[in-house]
């Protein structure tokens, strides 16, 4: 076998993509922060920011090895050892084959995925979460849920010659998830549902108005997410090549389609196309195209986007019927969008590009079956484990703030700050 030589172009793209993906988490903080009431905007944003801190540290201690180690040769986890990332400066990444990029570039790129996934969950428990308990939850959740699930989905094993060691279960079953429809979005969506159940409804939910306090912030956040998502999807090619370009254009097309799908649904159902709907539609489209972005043609990406926009716009109403307070619709957007995108590969996937033919390309239901397996396994595991972790935290250190704190606002109770100076003369405003 010829020795693979480091590619400066690929490495530059993966490093730049890593920075793009990191930006998604502060973007998410704005997206979520604008959607809550002014009295809890900071707590909402801080849940994203602390996730960056906690997961970054755990990743270099043991997280990378649980997700991408191969030493244990297990389909369920990588290996339990310290990441030892200082010893591998000159090593190339090997994930089902050697890539001409440093192992460390691969490690930092994947770290950003491990950060945003738990941050996404926080939208389900807005306005009522103890900050410290959230930080503990993130540490436990990534350890027992994200790191192993990333191994199932993203670890293609260490390939030397024809021997592959330590490939993840879903990856070796041929479940297709290019950038994280299952590992990131279904995972976070199912966890969000579990935590919304653990923490319960906010005081006054469905009785008093809980309007988004700043739609411009929501739109800013959605825009940063959209921008960063090009790193998420096109960066997942781990190369600056045609697949990356395909993932890039598919990401754009699907997102455009989903904006249209969502606001058309609103226009027909509620009478007005809304700003929140456009921002939410963009995120729904980004979610749905994530698993599919390198497996489908651009026309199919447009269809997937429009379908995701419509499906998610309809799904966000479910919580009122089912009675769970998933405050910012982590289920309606990420779980539903992730399922739409993951299953869509079973219909629109084509061997002209990568992988297998889906139903519409004459491949039968084989691929759809694999995709359904990935969806079900990740959704079930994440939901059950998150329920257990959530209840453990609730019963020990408490997960939800006292009702007095909830009424004055978690910002004041948990952080001794307020997002805005809303007072006039008497409150020191001037």
């Amino acid at each position: 076998m010829d020795e693979v030589v480091l590619s400066a172009g690929d490495t530059a793209w993966v490093l730049a993509s890593s920075a793009l993906v990191l930006l998604m988490t502060p973007g998410l903080a704005f997206f979520y922060g604008g959607m809550v009431r002014a009295k809890s905007a900071l707590n909402m944003m801080m849940m994203s920011i602390i996730t960056i801190g906690v997961v970054s540290i755990l990743w270099v201690i043991y997280g990378f090895k649980i997700a991408f180690g191969y030493e244990a040769d297990s389909p369920w986890y990588g290996s339990f050892s310290t990441s030892g990332l200082g010893d591998v400066v000159n090593e190339l990444a090997n994930n089902g084959g050697v890539y001409p990029i440093p192992l460390l570039a691969f490690a930092v790129f994947q770290l950003m995925f491990a950060i945003i996934t738990p941050a996404l969950i926080s939208g389900a428990i807005a306005d009522r979460t103890k900050f410290f308990s959230w930080a503990i939850f993130v540490a436990i959740w990534v350890t027992v849920v994200y790191f192993p699930v990333a191994h199932w989905v993203f670890a293609f094993g260490n390939k030397v010659g024809d021997t592959v060691t330590g490939a993840g279960y879903l990856a070796s079953q041929g479940v297709q998830d290019f950038a994280g429809g299952t590992a990131v979005h279904i995972n976070a969506g199912a966890a969000g549902l579990a935590l919304a159940i653990v923490l319960g409804k906010r005081i006054g939910w469905q009785k008093s108005p809980m309007r988004p306090h700043s739609l411009p912030l929501v739109l800013l956040g959605a825009s940063l997410l959209w921008f960063g998502w090009f790193g998420f999807n096109a960066g997942s090619a781990l190369a600056a090549n045609g697949i990356a370009a395909l993932a890039f254009i598919n990401t754009q097309v699907a997102t455009g389609g989903a904006v249209i799908g969502w606001i058309l649904t609103e226009k027909f159902r509620d009478g007005h196309p809304t700003t929140l709907g456009a921002a939410s539609g963009a995120v729904a489209g980004l979610v749905a195209i994530t698993p599919a972005c390198a497996f489908v043609e651009p026309w199919a990406a447009a269809v997937i986007g429009i379908l995701a926009g419509i499906a998610c716009a309809l799904a966000v109403g479910l919580k009122y019927k089912l009675g769970y307070d998933d405050s910012l619709d982590v289920v309606g957007v990420h779980l539903v969008g992730g399922i739409v995108g993951s299953l869509a590969i079973g219909f629109f996937g084509t061997s002209k590009i990568l992988g297998l033919d889906g139903l519409f390309y004459g491949g039968g239901v084989e691929l759809l079956g694999k995709q359904a397996l990935g969806v079900a396994l990740v959704m079930g595991y994440s939901f059950v484990m998150t329920l257990i972790i959530g209840f453990l935290i609730e019963k020990t250190i408490g997960f939800r703030v006292k009702s007095e704190s909830e009424l004055v606002g978690v910002d004041q109770a948990e952080h001794a700050e307020s997002a805005y100076e809303l007072g006039g003369v008497l409150k020191g405003g001037r």
Partner: protein, 112 residues
């Protein structure tokens, strides 16, 4: 002496203020208030969930006037604030026992 209080549409505030200036009214106190009347509220929709907004933002003007000026001040406000549609607001006058100018200690109509 009377205290004239007017609740008007925020969009008509500049018209009212300019009309009062032109009519020779020298002082007023203005605050942003919210309230509900015959106009009722409106419905906002976020991700398909409807939120009734009951209270509507208005501007409140307070003006102290000598008895002889009360009718003309009220007429000036009513004329300038009117759009003819529901929600234009209300103006009323209440009796005032005494007024003191803080700087000079002047009392009664001399303090207006």
């Amino acid at each position: 002496m009377k205290l004239i209080t007017a609740i008007i549409k925020p969009g008509k505030f500049d018209d009212v203020k300019n009309a009062l200036r032109a009519a020779g009214v020298k002082g007023m106190t203005v605050s942003e208030v919210s309230g509900v009347g015959r106009q009722g509220g409106h419905i906002e929709v976020y991700r398909g969930a409807e939120y009734p907004i009951d209270l509507i933002g208005k501007i409140k003007l307070e003006i102290l006037a000598e008895n002889k000026d009360v009718d003309s001040v009220i007429n000036t406000i009513v004329k300038a604030a009117s759009t003819g549609s529901i929600g234009d607001g209300k103006v009323w006058a209440t009796p005032v026992d005494n007024v003191v100018r803080v700087r000079t200690g002047e009392k009664g109509e001399a303090a207006i």
